[in-house]
Symmetry: C2
DNA sequence: CGTTCATTTGAGTGCCGTCAATATAAGTGG
DNA sequence: CCACTTATATTGACGGCACTCAAATGAACG
């Protein structure tokens, strides 16, 4: 019940579903599992046979350089299916791990393929989900390539807020995001030291503050301007 | 004939196609068009009604910051369908333009949807193509976030070589890529001046040289090591 | 053969990285 | 509940990669 509700919320945000669609989703065989923080789920080079639904907690996807530096591709929140691409890309080109203690649902590729085959509308919704994923990566490329540190940070926090709000996990200007400055650095391509300085700057300028995993946006307008955040790329309206 | 051959080559690299699949592709209504260099095809905010197949020449996808700085997302080569995502994301979040004079084929969404509906294998191949696109974006995020200028350049050229080779447009260690240092800078998040210095460094170290759109790889091994290039993320083997 | 675009090089600056040390918080065992 | 350990956050000093500004050279094009 709890299991499919996260998935249903997500898919409803991707397409209009009818009762049969909902029924098909609810009868999906999902293998629930609790996992501690910092545990690997999929590694680069793996051949996964199923996809991982984030039910509760936070997941992180990342790639590493030869010299061991990590780049976080994205932080995943309840309702996300971070490795949906493994349905058609059979060798994983990156890693997926838990960021916090998590409840995840494992869904076999076979079951997902059957679902996609039986219910074309759901297939389109899943495809759309992977396309939004790609759109987020494009924004990340823009962020890393063209914006300075404070802008990258502003953009990052506003994206997380927007996505968390979409699944009812951000109320008002405050939300919970249990990550360290190390993680922020790995996501934004900057050193921990510099992350700290940027956060201090944002705090001093009364734009945003962060303490022990709680983010508070103090001035949404100015933070949005700084980070040039425009949620268009999140494609949150399924009718568009 | 020429039109569908680029598309067939691409789809054959994505999935095993049977005669019916090939027939369906060959009877796709494609509206061919010649375009000059530097012309816009899709703009951010547009609602495209079709997709654009690159038949001949080079296309470029990019996003701009509020202050007008451009970030190139990718350079597209014959066989690519750069805006395939518009099939399910109805508002474009970025721009698509010609980089050189091009021949493009416009395929309506209606025709593509019909094709995907009639031939599930082709639908999967198209989905897979968009997933590879996303995988390339992830590598780009890693490149921009964690590698220094010379590494980014090395990685960029090796990716282009690999992709061009896959469609028979790179023989040996040399290939044609009609871009300016300005473009390279916009793709790799660095200034033109610095691109020039990096190219000089690569040339002096006998790794690579570039003159008037002709790239020659002088030392593949060392260039690969420098750029940490591993073609896994291109997912060029359809059986994996 | 002049105009324009692209490439190249130098000088100076600054954002951000590394190194190092300290402070604070969190977690652990006695 | 308090020593001890470890993780995370914070701050300063210093250096370097890459940016900006500016100018010169070379290539392309009508």
């Amino acid at each position: 019940m709890e299991l499919t509700s996260a998935l249903l919320t997500k898919l409803r945000a991707l397409a209009e579903l009818n009762d049969d669609d909902v029924g098909a989703i609810q009868s999906l065989p999902i293998n629930m599992r609790n996992m501690p923080a910092g545990q690997s789920i999929v590694r680069q080079g793996d051949h996964p046979t199923g996809c991982c639904l984030c039910v509760e907690g936070f997941l992180v996807r990342w790639k590493a350089t030869v010299t061991g530096k990590r780049q976080i591709m994205g932080i995943h929140i309840p309702g996300d299916i971070p490795d949906l691409q493994s349905l058609h890309l059979h060798v994983s080109d990156h890693d997926l791990s838990t960021l916090t203690a998590c409840t995840v649902g494992l869904i076999s590729h076979a079951a997902l393929r059957q679902l996609a085959h039986d219910r074309p509308k759901i297939a389109d919704a899943l495809w759309r989900d992977t396309l939004i994923e790609a759109a987020m990566m494009r924004e990340r490329v823009l962020n890393l390539g063209q914006r300075h540190a404070a802008q990258r940070a502003a953009n990052f926090f506003l994206e997380m807020r927007s996505r968390l709000a979409a699944v009812g996990r951000a109320k008002g200007n405050s939300f919970h995001l249990p990550i360290t400055q190390q993680h922020i650095g790995e996501a934004l391509g900057m050193s921990v030291v510099h992350v700290n300085r940027v956060l201090k700057e944002l705090r001093n300028n009364k734009l945003l503050e962060m303490q022990r995993g709680k983010i508070t946006i103090l001035d949404e307008r100015r933070l949005t301007d700084l980070g040039e955040f425009d949620s268009l790329y999140l494609h949150q309206d399924p009718s568009l």
